[in-house]
């Protein structure tokens, strides 16, 4: 789609896996922070005439 690898992630976490949830959330936050602010699929204001 043109979205950088890492910005979109999928995980399967059971409601019983609290530790895994924390780990995944931290990992996702770190990867996305490293990528910087998103520039695609963001609409600050409609680009029209």
């Amino acid at each position: 789609m043109g979205i950088e690898p890492g910005r979109l992630q999928f995980s399967w976490i059971s409601s019983a896996e609290a530790t895994k949830f924390v780990e995944v959330a931290q990992a996702v936050t770190e990867t996305v922070k490293a990528l910087g602010p998103n520039t695609h699929f963001v609409k600050h204001e409609a680009k029209v005439a």
Binding site: K43, H44, E45, A46, V48, A49
Partner: protein, 356 residues
């Protein structure tokens, strides 16, 4: 009407000169078709096209257009005020527009510029634009402009009409705006009487080449409800997929929808083209949809163009015969055929029909 000569050798240089005081737009090739785009300095419009895929209506009436904007940011001096969106209404010229598409501006003016209401966005954009048209020497088989009040050499709506005569253009200057553009381009060589005769000759040839004719003379006298209840609508509508192709490509379709968009602390009010072919067009807040069925929407499009408009404005049909909807409907719903059906429709056993 005043006619001037423009030698083709002076075409590009004239445009360059005019470019000092006008923004120039013209047909540009985009893949398999042509579209109107702003021309870069020195770029000449591609005049070898039959017609552009989309009409020129979007130049004055963009598909999506900002109307108002606001900000709630207290740091801004004009916060909490609804402001009209800033637009560039400096003079611009559209080169190479076809006569049917120019006539369409006159037609939609009946909607956007009425004694009661004037649409400021449309009017300002229209006022800013000078239309330099290109006569159609070789109309398409799907063109029926001469049946729709226009014609391949019509000057309705145009400021200048260019007629190609080999080494030069014969330019009919139809309005003071056209005069000003010719001045800005430095085209001032007056043509003799032979030029007017040549234009007339070419016009007759072009009009004779139009082989698509549509009868419209009975539409006015037809009874609205009888047409509305005619049995042919199911068959006409069957194949229609209710896309917006016919209405979006059409130079005379004028309907729009207003949307508000908020982005953080600021927002805009937009208007977007809308289409009577879409179910959403008539969906009420209550959830009720008075035109919930496809056949109702198809009927609406043709009844509006060929009956309601005809009755309301007494100025022919709401169509200039450009043929775009005929050429590009994905399932070949042909307004010429529907117009024939509507024009020639009579109730079976008409003469002794009892109206109850």
């Amino acid at each position: 009407m005043k006619v001037i000569y423009i030698e083709k050798a002076q075409w590009a240089s004239g445009l360059e000169k005019a470019g000092d005081s006008f923004r120039l737009w013209g047909p540009v090739r985009r893949g398999q078709f042509y579209a109107f785009e702003e021309l870069a300095g020195g770029q000449v419009p591609a005049l070898d096209f039959r017609n552009t895929r989309l009409s020129a209506k979007g130049l004055v009436y963009p598909q999506s257009e900002k109307m108002f904007e606001y900000t709630l940011d207290p740091g801004q001096p004009d916060h909490d005020l609804l402001k009209e969106a800033q637009k560039d209404y400096s003079p611009r010229a559209v080169l190479g527009i076809r006569p049917c598409d120019a006539d369409a501006f006159e037609l939609v003016a009946r909607n956007f510029d009425t004694p009661e209401y004037q649409d400021p966005y449309w009017l300002r954009a229209r006022e800013a634009v000078t239309l330099v048209g290109l006569a159609c020497a070789a109309p398409c088989s799907t063109c029926f402009c001469t049946s729709a009040g226009s014609g391949p050499f019509s000057t309705k709506g145009l400021d200048i009409l260019l007629v190609d005569s080999g080494g030069n253009f014969l330019a009919q200057v139809a309005t003071p705006k056209g005069e000003a553009f010719a001045q800005a381009a430095g085209w001032r060589q007056p043509a003799d009487d032979a030029a007017a005769a040549e234009i007339d000759r070419q016009r007759q040839v072009a009009e004779a080449r139009i082989d698509s004719h549509v009868a419209t003379e009975r539409l006015r006298q037809q009874d609205t409800l009888t047409l509305h209840a005619a049995p042919f609508w199911d068959d006409v509508a069957f194949a229609c997929i209710n896309c917006g192709t016919c209405t979006y490509l059409c130079p005379t379709c004028w309907c729009f929808d207003i949307q508000d968009e908020t982005h953080g602390r600021q927002g805009v009010r937009l208007r977007n083209w809308d289409s009577c072919m879409f179910p959403l067009f008539t969906l009420h807040g209550s959830g009720h949809n008075p035109r919930g069925q496809k056949v109702q929407r198809v009927r609406q499009r043709f009844m509006h163009k060929l009956k309601y408009y005809v009755d309301k404005y007494e100025n022919g049909i709401q169509c200039v015969g450009c043929g775009r909807c005929v050429r590009h409907c994905p399932v070949n719903i042909d307004i010429r055929k529907v117009c024939e059906l509507m024009n020639s429709y009579t109730l079976a056993g008409d003469s002794c029909a009892v109206v109850s």
